[in-house]
């Protein structure tokens, strides 16, 4: 049988298309995105009007800024737009967590050992958690992959040069953050192993409660951002950077009791997605599943 490039292309397309599932929630996403776009257009028009009004006020007051009233209005405007952007967002894909060295962090695998730094990557049911020593060498890597309520866990022990794989029932997701307290429910930085942090609801609720105030503009990695700082006397202080154009969060820096943190939302690039996979170094020995024999859930990964 002889096939030309056209036939091969047709067959190739059929094979490719077979793997594409039915879309879910696209109509609602499109409706949300359209609402956002309309709001943004209106906001641009309103900003133009506001600038004209501000110029008129400055002229009328001999150049003195009106002060708090104008500032409150601007903060509310930014908060409203961040809220809208989060409501329609589905691209906040990769999140990295970094705790500072102020308080050494417990290693989940080695009792008594405390890490100087913990880095956790999250993306759509996959989590990869690293614990590092003060020199930046890993103690432990734990990868969690949740499919249909079942979680596959791969643990790599860099001290003993061993690794283990087992499955378990996934934990119930942590409750949503709805309060005004920056530290209520532990904040999205205390994430149960394998769970995903709910930053959107945290940011939305704390912004609605007025727990952030506008603190000017800045640049993060060449992107123009709006800086928002947390207000009040919480033991937690956070600085939130949101994109000036999309209003989506770019980064959170802050201090929580005993540690510093830095969250970043990154594009799901191949390099970033690779950080979610557990890599077993050459020569590491696999240990038997310690939970073998117990009733463990089965699922195809």
């Amino acid at each position: 049988m002889s096939l030309g490039i056209e036939d091969l292309l047709t067959e190739g397309m059929e094979r490719f298309a077979e793997q594409i599932p039915a879309p879910s929630g696209l109509a609602r996403r499109a409706a949300r995105a359209r609402r956002q776009r309309r709001l943004r257009s209106r906001a641009v028009a309103a900003a133009g009007t506001a600038a004209l009004a501000a110029a008129a006020v400055l002229a009328a007051t001999g150049g003195q800024a009106p002060g708090t009233a104008g500032h409150a209005l601007t903060t509310a405007f930014v908060i409203k737009n961040v809220d809208q952007a989060l409501a329609g967002s589905h691209k906040i894909a990769v999140i990295s967590f970094r705790a500072g060295p102020l308080t050494p962090l417990p290693d989940p695998v080695h009792p008594g050992i405390r890490g100087a730094r913990v880095v956790t990557w999250f993306y759509r049911g996959a989590t990869n958690n690293w614990v590092f020593d003060p020199d930046g060498m890993p103690y432990t890597e734990e990868q969690f992959l949740t499919v249909g309520g079942v979680q596959r866990v791969i643990t790599v022990d860099y001290l003993k040069k061993t690794w283990i794989q087992h499955t378990q029932t996934a934990m119930e997701p942590a409750g949503k953050q709805n309060g005004c307290d920056l530290n209520s429910l532990g904040g999205p930085w205390y994430v149960p192993p394998g769970d995903s942090p709910d930053w959107p609801s945290f940011i939305r609720s704390t912004l609605r409660c007025g727990r952030f105030a506008l603190a000017g503009h800045a640049r993060v990695d060449g992107v123009s951002v709006i800086r928002l700082i947390s207000t009040g006397r919480d033991p937690v202080s956070l600085t939130l950077f949101v994109s000036s154009s999309t209003y989506l969060p770019i980064e959170v820096n802050g201090l929580i009791p005993g540690a510093s943190l830095r969250w970043r939302w990154l594009a799901p690039s191949p390099a970033n997605l690779a950080k979610l996979s557990a890599v077993i170094p050459h020569g590491f020995r696999q240990l038997p599943d310690p939970f073998r024999g117990e009733e463990t859930p089965q699922v195809e990964f």
Binding site: P21, S269, P270
Partner: protein
């Protein structure tokens, strides 16, 4: 009420036809993720114009997707096209190790390296099995332009396959088998 009803109607429509539409969108963009973005962009336009569209929205959605894709939809999003190319290279690296290379898959991966209009024409011609006159009507161009885009697209695919840009051995095999008339 009217707005929510419109979205619910669209949800029901997508439950039936969504997979086919997403397949086309994914072929046009090179990945499922970008395909979802393209389909979403078409849905947004449909919602904006729903008062002006009678009956079945599928024709409008398909036309919009093809035209968005052919016009180099989101051509400013350079990182996105780079990402697709990176994926192609990454996938190629893995395939080199496996020895089980499928020529058909390699050819589809090469599609993303074609200019948007050529890619749209090839998807319409060889996936949707449309005639040249139908494609011309859909994309708003002449039949001669469609014919030229298809010829150039296929020629470019052969060149890329010959250079082995999407997986070395697999694409050389493709060219070799095409020349010898065997698969």
């Amino acid at each position: 009420m009217g707005h929510d009803q419109g979205v619910e109607d669209l949800d029901r429509f997508l439950a039936v036809r969504g997979r086919d539409l997403l397949r086309v969108a994914s072929l046009l963009t090179g990945s499922q993720e970008s395909g979802e973005d393209l389909l979403q962009a078409a849905l947004e336009r449909l919602l904006r114009r729903r008062g002006h569209i009678d009956g079945d929205p599928e024709g409008y959605l398909r036309r919009t997707m093809y035209n968005l894709a052919a016009d180099g939809w989101r051509r400013q999003a350079v990182w996105r096209s780079k990402l697709v190319l990176l994926r192609v290279r990454d996938a190629a690296a893995v395939r080199d190790d496996t020895a089980q290379v499928d020529q058909r898959d390699a050819l589809v991966r090469l599609l993303v390296q074609l200019p948007p209009r050529q890619r749209a024409v090839l998807v319409l011609r060889y996936w949707e099995q449309r005639t040249e006159s139908e494609i011309a009507a859909l994309l708003g161009c002449s039949e001669a332009a469609v014919k030229a885009a298809a010829v150039r697209g296929l020629r470019r695919l052969r060149e890329l396959a010959g250079r082995g840009q999407a997986g070395g051995r697999g694409c050389h095999q493709l060219v070799a088998t095409e020349r010898s008339g065997k698969v």
